[in-house]
């Protein structure tokens, strides 16, 4: 065993205990993810392993940590450890290249070739002489990632390094992280609050609870290697293996995060019910309306939506998918990928749903405007102020001015309307336009 921690108790003061009997173990070249809600002690655990804690006189630590036969402090001094913080923590006075080379400079090593190779690996070869203030957030994280690997660390500790980045940057960085891990055979401990990220990047996972106890531990057994997972995230997150881990882990976090103790049993009951619908695919979704509302009162909306999105992806029942769809669409921070996925699902399944006897195939264009366009408004209010578009289209539709609606949609398709998220808006407009035109043709036929 490369790293073994047994019954770790830690407190910042005698009264304030943060970790409570946490044990963990890790073999060489494995990646362990530590997930949990904010304030559960994930970062503290990482700082203990790195030897930063305990530091101040009031802090205390019980339990054993052994890294390759050494204590954390001995291991840190051996120089085989690297740490990547939540913020990039770059030296503002040094260029990209100098920042990457800085850990080598501390050790008195000059290795231009290694630094240049890392620059190429993280795709920053054209920015090597820029200062951090000239870089975007994603680029800064790339520099920090390259810097973490420059000493060829045996153990790399990552403290939510990608949490401030959008999904596009995250996907790129997952690939780069995996590439570098392969190259240097590093063992990684990855702290995150994002279960999806943990399931993509690790072989092992532990969930920490609010009071610093370990709630859950599992080995991620997947047919796909980490490299395959990061190369095709959208496929991986739809696999049954992913879903089998995601829902129980998210459930642990949600139940633990439930504020009232009495609410935990209720949340647990509802989550079990949702899991059973996802697995069995029955068609009694209307009975879940009150359950979902009730669960939102008990725990945070973010966790509920993570769970609903996962249930949406894995549910076998179209009817249940539709029910989930409306809940997900009401989520104000819905990301573009999910809204696109739901939209495409809607259009690809509309015929099947109709044959299944679902009611939602009768959805009017107005309904579509509300669900789809409003989703994007909610998705990023500041960037796409599109309430206007929705109100405009609904008003026109209600006043039966179909031609005007079509003209407007035409403008959207042709890219004449600013402020819209192209090509998504185009895609929506094109499809809504098609639907209205078909309705018109039907009306002519009937007439």
């Amino acid at each position: 065993m490369f790293l073994k921690g047994e019954k770790i108790d830690f407190g910042y003061t005698a009264e304030k205990q943060v970790l409570n009997g946490v044990s963990l173990s890790l073999d060489k070249s494995e990646t362990l993810s530590v997930v949990g809600a904010s304030g559960c002690g994930k970062s503290t655990l990482l700082r203990i392993i790195s030897g930063i804690l305990p530091s101040a006189k009031d802090t205390w630590l019980n339990g054993q940590i052994n890294i390759n036969g050494q204590t954390p402090d001995e291991y840190r001094k051996s120089g085989k450890l690297a740490f990547m913080f939540q913020e990039a923590t770059l030296m503002p006075n040094l260029t990209v290249k100098e920042n990457i080379a800085f850990p080598l400079k501390i050790k008195g090593i000059k290795d231009n070739e290694r630094v240049t190779n890392l620059l190429y690996t993280v795709g920053l070869e054209d920015h090597s002489n820029k200062l951090p203030k000239e870089l975007s957030g994603g680029m800064k994280t790339r520099v920090a990632l390259a810097r973490s690997f420059v000493t060829g660390p045996e153990l790399l500790l990552l403290d939510e390094p990608f949490s401030a980045l959008d999904i596009a940057w995250k996907s790129k960085l997952y690939i780069e992280l995996e590439k570098l891990r392969e190259q240097y055979h590093s063992t990684i401990i990855f702290v995150t609050h994002d279960v999806q990220e943990a399931l993509i990047l690790s072989n092992k996972i532990i969930v920490l609870g609010k009071n610093g106890t370990k709630l859950y531990e599992d080995i991620i057994e997947s047919d796909l290697s980490i490299q395959e997972r990061v190369n095709d995230i959208s496929d991986y997150i739809k696999t049954p293996t992913y879903q089998n881990y995601f829902i129980p882990i998210q459930k642990w976090i949600m139940v633990d995060g439930t504020r009232a103790v009495t609410g935990r049993e209720e949340v647990d009951r509802i989550l079990n019910k949702i899991s059973s619908v996802v697995e069995n695919g029955n068609n009694v979704w209307s009975t879940y309306q009150s359950d979902i509302n009730s669960i939102k009162e008990y725990t945070n909306v973010d966790s509920v939506n993570h769970l609903l999105v996962s249930a949406f992806r894995s549910s076998k029942s179209l009817d249940f998918k539709e029910y989930l769809m409306y809940h997900i669409l009401n989520y104000k921070d819905l990301d573009a990928d999910i809204s696109r996925e739901i939209f495409n699902f809607y259009y690809t399944n509309i015929e099947t749903a109709s044959a299944d006897g679902c009611k939602w195939y009768q959805t009017t264009p107005e309904h579509l405007f509300r669900t789809v366009i409003k989703t994007r408004i909610n998705g990023d209010r500041t960037k796409y102020p599109k309430e206007k578009l929705w109100i405009y289209l609904c008003d026109l539709y209600h006043s039966n001015e179909t031609t005007k609606v079509l003209n407007y949609l035409n403008d959207v398709v042709e890219g004449k309307i600013e402020q819209l998220d192209y090509p998504f808006a185009k895609e929506v407009a094109q499809k809504v336009k098609g639907k209205i035109e078909n309705e018109k043709l039907d009306a002519i036929h009937i007439a």
């Binding site: 700082r47 930063i52 913080f85 923590t89 503002p92 501390i106 203030k133």
Partner: protein, 247 residues
Amino acid sequence: MKNWMLYILLSVLLLALWQYFGSHNQTVRLLISSPTLVVEYFAENTSELLVATKTTLVEAVSGLLIATAFSFVVMILCFYQPKVMDFVLPIMVTSQVIPIIVLAPFFIILLGMGIASKIAMAAVISFFPIFVSFAQGYKAINKNIHEFFYIYNAPLGFRIRKVYFPLAMPSIMSGLKVSATLATIGAIVAEFTGAEIGLGKNLFLSAIRLEPELMMTSLILSALSGGLLFSVIWVLEKNFGKWYAGD
């Protein structure tokens, strides 16, 4: 219109007003003379005035350099012995309660009428802003940066040279700019209380002898000396502080 054009216009206007009232009003002439008379006076006494300016500048620069070096030494001591900081900082703050100018006679008695007492005064008056700015700059360094160097086991000497000094540079430079002006003031005030040569002595004599031309030339040269010191630091910052310029 650009700002610099406005400044030039304003200066020309003030000079014209000064010239007009200095030539037509006896009281104004006795108080602040007139530009033409000041220029004439400067032309007649150039060498004496420049020697006085040079003396004051040497005192101010020496004082500033001593203050900078001393604050760096104290700060490095604090890095090696953090408890020194807890001990030194309250003394520094308390010492500021004393109006430092009153120490000028003390330095004259201690170090004599020569430039040593003026340098001491300039050093004492400019030490505090540099030291406090440095301490603040160090304290503002992100906690993660400290942890980063702890993880890589970087020796303290390396951290002081490559991290603490460079990252505290914006604060140090702000302190130096304040101290540059203060050092000139310190040297001049010390010269008031007794000096063989210097702009402060000239200003003192101009009041006793009722020589407005001497007063105005010394005043202008004092302002230029302070401005020169400030500009040198500004140029230094332009060269060494590129990474934070524009923040």
